[in-house]
């Protein structure tokens, strides 16, 4: 069965890029444009992993993360951000991984693999 990844980002082109790249890797991709939509999507179907942008209108990444953790404490979340510095934010500790957005998605893909294989073992 394919793993399901929820990609949350407010920019359409980024969503498109991630979808195409990750679909090539063999994942099923669900898209959401902000935190609110993301909450709706996980209610429909719980993904195996979430890639999360921080700055989004209506509900930002941190707020969504908080609400997610109320529901599911273990779901792997990768914070993708163009900003440099969310290490300082204690809420970021509630995520698994923090990645700086780059045109080279190799790091993202490797991290996804690592997190999903860890999940499997559990």
């Amino acid at each position: 069965m394919e793993k399901v990844i929820l990609v949350v980002d407010d920019e359409e082109d980024i969503r498109l890029l991630y979808k195409d790249e990750l679909t090539d890797e063999g994942y099923e991709i669900v898209l959401a444009e902000n935190g609110k939509e993301a909450l709706e999507k996980i209610k429909e179907k719980m993904p195996d992993l979430i890639t999360l942008d921080i700055r989004m209108p209506k509900m930002d990444g941190m707020e969504f993360l908080r609400r997610l953790r109320e529901i599911d404490r273990d779901l792997p979340v990768i914070l993708c951000t163009a900003y440099g510095d969310y290490r300082r934010d204690f809420r970021a500790w509630a995520s698994d991984v923090y990645i700086t957005k780059s045109s080279n998605l190799d790091e993202l893909k490797t991290t996804i693999k690592q997190l999903l294989s860890k999940q499997k073992k559990d």
Partner: protein, 642 residues
Amino acid sequence: MKLDPNTLNKLNIIGNSSLNLKRRLSQIALLVTEVLKVDVCSICMREEKNDTLILKATIGLNPELIDNLKFNIGVGVAGLAFEKNEPTIVKNPTLSDVSVFEKEPYKSILAVPLSYKNAKLGVLVVQTPEIREFNQEDVLLLTTLVSKTTGLIRNAQLHSQLTKLSAEKETRVRELSLLYDIGKAMRSTMKLDTLLNVILTVVTMGGGMGFNRAVLLLINERTNVLQGMMGVGPSSAEEAYAIWEEIKNVKGSLINNILSEDVGKTIIFNNKHRMIENNQQTSSDELKFDKLVKGIRIPLDRDHNVLVKTVLEKKVFNIKEGDTSLTIEPEITNQLGAKNFATIPLIAKNKVIGVILVDNLYNNKPILDEDLAFLKMFTIQAGLAIESTQLYQSHKKINLELQEIESRLLQTEKFAALGEMAANVAHEIRNPLVTIGGFARRLNKTLNDKEPEGRYSNIIVNEVTRLENLVQDVLSFSKETPPSCEEHNINELLEDTLRLFSEDFKENRVEIIKKLFTTLPPVSVDSKQLKQVFTNLLYNALYVMPNGGQLWIKTYLINEELKQKVVIEIGDTGGGIPLEVIDNIFNPFFTTKSTGTGLGLALARKIVENHGGTIEVDNRVGEGVNFIIKLMMNDEIKKRRK
């Protein structure tokens, strides 16, 4: 007794003519010789301060004796007459009877006291070479005549006193106005050198105080030394005479000439007392004296030195040749060459700030106490002026420093604002770069490298990567990230970073030489940030040695400014940094590389300074560069945090 009308007439004439005392006395003496038919008549007046009589007028005696012939009251016929206040006659005087001027071959002497309303003014003496009987009538005639003249004499005396007082007053007024003018001249400048020059010029120029030479010394409070600041005066006798000749020809008040120009083009009498603009054309001789003075340094603990005594006792010293009451150190007499000199303390607000020394080396005019009186008044003003200047200068300096601090603060603020803008821009750029590069990569996967389209997409991917790196650099640089410190072994961090570059250095055939201090204590640092610093430096070293060279890595401990520090040196043999750019290398966005953000060294410095350390460059043009990082040990860092 009545005097005949002719005599009375003559008395009138005397009363209406000159009020000059000596002239009047002469006229009276002459009248007496005519009336009494004698050859010699002399008038002696009492000297105010002491009990002596002095010859003031004479008919018949050597006129050179006037003002020079003195004798005590009670001595000789004249002295006796004065003392007893009675006419006294002596015939055939013996030696013991006579006073000095009566030693001439005179056989008869008649002396009559002069008094006016109970005040004894002097005595009138007539003499004859032959023996003459002065009878009662003669005596009466003389005393009557004399009584009519004492009023005239008294008037003349008062007039002479008035004239003298008036002259004194005039002198005082002149001195005061001179002081005022000088004060104005001194206040017209805030530059110490100019001021000192004005002061010493005033002291030495004719029309001012006219001392031959003047030396000004000021106290250096820091070193407790009396230091020679300036010397003014001709350096040889010939020069001195030449100057004085010239001064006679200068018209107008010298002070006014000083004041006539504004400070910017102050025309000051320089040492040569010529009008020359601002210290040009000083001859080497004058400068020699000035230079000599500037080399004088007298520690204030040498309290037997007359200059030091002047300071410590706040007193004026007027030293005459042969004065053995004080030890004059040979250095003063040898260096300055004068045996007669005077020293005056320079006082500002009750504190001694220096000394002025004056001498008359060339005309050897003795220095009188009254000369010094004026000089003393002047030095009070001078002292205040000097202190003002010094305060002004230090005020100026403080102002400048404040301005500097203000501008640096402004720069920092600007920089911070710029940093924020840069961060915002960088962030905005990042997302588009992700999509451009990401899709270019996808295209790249489907295209052939060897085909033009493949090459194009390759280029797009590379350029995007380059831009992303720039964005990353800019963001790292503008972030305010205080180091999150943990104890680390610096050598380890160095080795870790070096490992990442070892392949590259090997490829460039660079020899790596390591001299790491084995027992380097752990230091509290942010390992990621410090590794960033090492990375940037190693990357630069790699860049300048594309075809071989040496890379030096050293670590050691030093003690600097009473603190223990860890030193990391990273050096290369890449030819060094050209002198015209060396000042800019740490500035952000400055780079000499064809590709580069110019942030590497700027970031390195920022990180090092955030750790409380310093980074310096030792540049050997033509050879290579050494970067020297100094970090404080843990205790120091903790102290700083507090």
